[in-house]
Amino acid sequence: MYIILVGGGKLGYHLAKTLLAEGHEVLVIEKERNRIEYICGELGSICLLGDGCEATTLAEAGTARADMLIAVTGDDEDNLVACQVAKHKFKVPRTIARSSNPKNETLFRMLGIDVTVSSTNVIMEYIQQEVPTHILTHLLTIQDKGVEIVEIRIPADSRSLGKKIKDIILPPGSNLILVIRRDQKPQMATPDVAIQPGDQVIALTPTDTEEQLKAALMGK
């Protein structure tokens, strides 16, 4: 795939490195000459000096034949505009924007950006996973399918303790995938596995059924 990255900061650099290693054709658009020199020194001639929000720069970058544009500058408004220009002027099939302000996720989706990754939310979620009092943690949202993968820690007073997975009534569309138990290998959540306190259960659930899922598994 031909992937254009707008923004050659730390995130842009590491993303470019990963995508190159996966065999993609990558171009990084960056305003600062210093960053360009650094990235080209490390990864080869994969940079273009310019403003990724400008149509002329994007035209020079061959954006019309790009399969994807990922905007990862530190400024939400720049990421939004880069994606909108790519989408509406160059018809790029898939645009991904980074947003620092979690509130912008909804806005960006409304304005036609295919995927918005809120770096703040991602970091918060990782921290939440390490906070033991937190019962439900989001692991991954699959936006265009309307589902998410969550982790639930079963507390000692859950009403599903001892119940087999096949006997737990889950909200429609929800599935338990994996049960992770202390000192054991993770096991598939097959119908006969019985829930124990302290289990970490990984589940796939429609985005709006999170509370019902929590109730089904914890139900006090």
Partner: protein
């Protein structure tokens, strides 16, 4: 009219001054409170420090009841983002914005925003004066 203006630079402050004098209810938003020095001492409107691309600040500025929103900061992209918030989220009836870059302006005009490019307008003005005046 109740008007929210984002960006209290030369353009924003002059617009605010004129509208304020005509009795409109103006709220200015700027990230730097030093910019508000450009407003006249008898300015009757409100000056709010904050980032106009943030929904909460816009709400504080009264965007929900505003009749119009004008985005005239120095940053094209900031103007574009806040104008889209005003138009699509808060459904402000009249939204105007400045975009210096003519190409970006063309795109967002096609997307339904009411945009103005001082670059294009001024270049045209200079050309007209060069070629037609005093002939």
């Amino acid at each position: 009219m109740k008007i929210v203006i984002m960006g209290c630079g030369r353009t924003g402050s002059q617009l605010a001054t004129m509208l304020d004098a005509e009795g409109h209810q103006i709220t200015m938003i700027d990230t730097n409170d030093y910019s508000f020095r450009r407003l006249p001492p008898d300015f009757k409107g409100t000056a709010l420090v904050g980032d106009g691309t943030d929904n909460e600040i816009l709400k504080k500025a009264g965007i929900e009841e505003a009749d119009a929103f004008v985005a005239v900061t120095q940053g094209d992209n900031r103007n574009i983002m806040s104008a889209q918030i005003a138009k699509h989220i808060f459904k402000v009836p009249k939204v105007l914005l400045r975009i210096y870059d003519p190409l970006r302006r063309e795109l967002y005009t096609n997307l339904g925003l009411e945009t103005f490019s001082p670059t294009t307008i001024f270049a045209q003005l200079l050309k007209d004066n060069l070629l037609h005046r005093g002939q």
